[in-house]
Symmetry: C2
Subunit: 329 residues, 2 copies
């Protein structure tokens, strides 16, 4: 069934439940249906804004992933950035361009995935833009968040001597994608779909790390540990030593994933943060493990140390979604 | 020269001048280079957010419009929405996806157009997302604005008896596009480009209409007068009478454009607002004319009255950019 823009807007309005219009962090004064959304940021707070594309053929494939997964991950990308600042989400905006013949069922599935995740926190869908696209599904998620003034956890706060930590386990999404590609190469087609596990934005952990003043710097792992750690190093003007054995690896099909996936695999949406040596970092928050994986150094390069204590240079080789980056990046 | 994402990000950082980091309406605490931008909304103010796609093949054509024009209009779309609430812009975020071989010169031109307009107000470019796109240039502009609490001018405030007003003159962009199409049909090609006049977001007028409590409802004319007036009617649950002769028509090539362009042409970025009968509306603000074009009515339809006093139903037939909408929309 073809979709027209007007129908889509009414649909979004209905889906963006009014019950969601108030949450802890802020309030919508006027939402979908005006030129702008009008929102209240609580007194003494700063606003956080993040925008993230989810483009068909770049970040997802409609034939390989369910619409629910695509919608869920689209919002995860935004919420995970709010988590990485220690913030709370206030409202979500979705710009969505759909090809003329997008099946209604696909659109419903996409919103189902996105709004289920939104409901969990809860954060309202407060506006956006809808249009027809020439051929591909194009989504841009914008999340407005709030954080008490002066407390946002930046990438630039890491200092030599700080410990380096990650939440959860890494490499699961990358191992699954890799296995899917291998299957495609063997069989030239696949009935399987990617997206067995829905990535969870670590909002509770981010907030607690801020409230307890644990993290000195923080980022979410969207491009891969090696790449995202390099961002912290650049912004903080420091280096890092990473202990290979300490990196928590996700399980895929019953066994731990290869180091490569944990070190460079994207789409993890775990948090990577640093904390002063003197800070007691809990071993878990909200049921998710926190693992020390290395130390911030004064020399501005990244080193990985293997179990035999051999030191190698660690280059940012993060994968981004369905596009493998060159290691020279 | 091919562009890689990393280069583009550094480029945007350099272009997003630090001199712009403070403006009247708010302040950037942390900008490009972190997971989120951190911003301050002034005390006693509400936040405004708007997002607008500018998609190649839908909203623009690289072969028909200069990159400067495309960049300028991309930001105009967002700023015009802030103007329509009576707000002030605080910061701009740009999500930009570029095909691998986008010429550097095109990218420079696009940013030149966008940043010149940003500088005028001034509003800083505070972040966004950059990625590679499979084939087309895809931009999503997000503008954060601020307005004193409870004073945003909504679409829903029009009441029967209110006068209907527009700023400036309408139909210029539509007439120019139409002329360009005719030329294309005749010659099968054109060396001309669309974009003779850069549309100006009416931020000063919007702010003054709010400060002086003149407007009861407001919208910007992006989809065409007939369509945007229908949005005010829907949200306010009213109807409208429009006086055909009163509609201010833009000049194109020395003569006034046809009524059709002024009534239904998109991309005008003028303001359409209503004001109580008892309110004295100035004839111009900031050098731009304000014209009474009709009256809000109790019956929920739109009527156009021609010079012979014949009344016809006015249907929303707004054009959107390079896609002509069906009148049944």
């Amino acid at each position: 069934m073809p979709l027209v823009e007007r129908e889509l807007i009414s649909r979004i309005r209905r889906l963006a439940s009014k019950r969601l219009a108030r949450n802890k962090a802020g309030a919508i004064v006027a939402g979908i249906g005006d030129d702008c959304a009008v929102l209240r940021i609580p007194t003494g707070h700063e606003a956080l804004i993040t925008t993230d594309f989810s483009l068909e053929g770049v970040h997802f494939r409609r034939e390989w992933q369910s619409p629910q997964f695509i919608g869920h991950r689209c919002l995860t990308r935004g919420l995970s950035d709010i988590a990485a600042m220690g913030g709370e989400p206030v409202a979500v905006f979705l710009s969505l361009a759909l090809p003329a013949r997008t099946p209604q069922k696909w659109v419903d599935g996409f919103f189902d995935g996105l709004l289920r995740l939104a409901k969990k926190f809860p954060v309202p869908l407060a506006g956006g833009d809808t249009t027809q696209s020439p051929d591909k599904v194009l989504a841009d998620i914008v999340v407005l968040g709030a954080v008490p003034r002066g407390t946002a956890i930046l990438r630039s706060g890491a200092r030599p001597g700080d410990g380096i930590y990650v939440t959860g386990a890494l490499g699961g999404a990358a191992a699954e994608t890799d296995s899917f590609y291998s299957q495609l190469r063997r069989q030239r087609s696949s009935r399987d779909r990617i997206g067995g596990t829905l990535p969870q934005p670590r909002l509770t952990i981010g907030r607690i790390l801020r409230e307890r003043k644990i993290a000195t710097s923080m980022i979410d792992i969207s491009d891969g540990l090696s790449t995202d750690l390099s961002h912290i190093c650049e912004e903080s003007e420091v280096g890092a030593e990473v202990w290979e054995e300490a990196i928590p690896r996700a399980k895929f099909r019953g066994r731990e994933v290869d180091l490569h996936f944990a070190l460079h695999g994207g789409d993890a949406y775990e948090l990577l943060f640093t904390a002063k040596k003197s800070t007691r970092v809990p071993t878990s928050i909200d049921g998710v493990s926190l693992t020390a994986i290395g130390e911030v150094t004064r020399t501005k390069n990244m080193i990985i140390i293997d179990p035999a204590q051999t030191r190698r240079v660690l280059r940012p080789q993060g994968w981004e979604h369905f596009r493998q980056r060159s290691s020279s990046k």
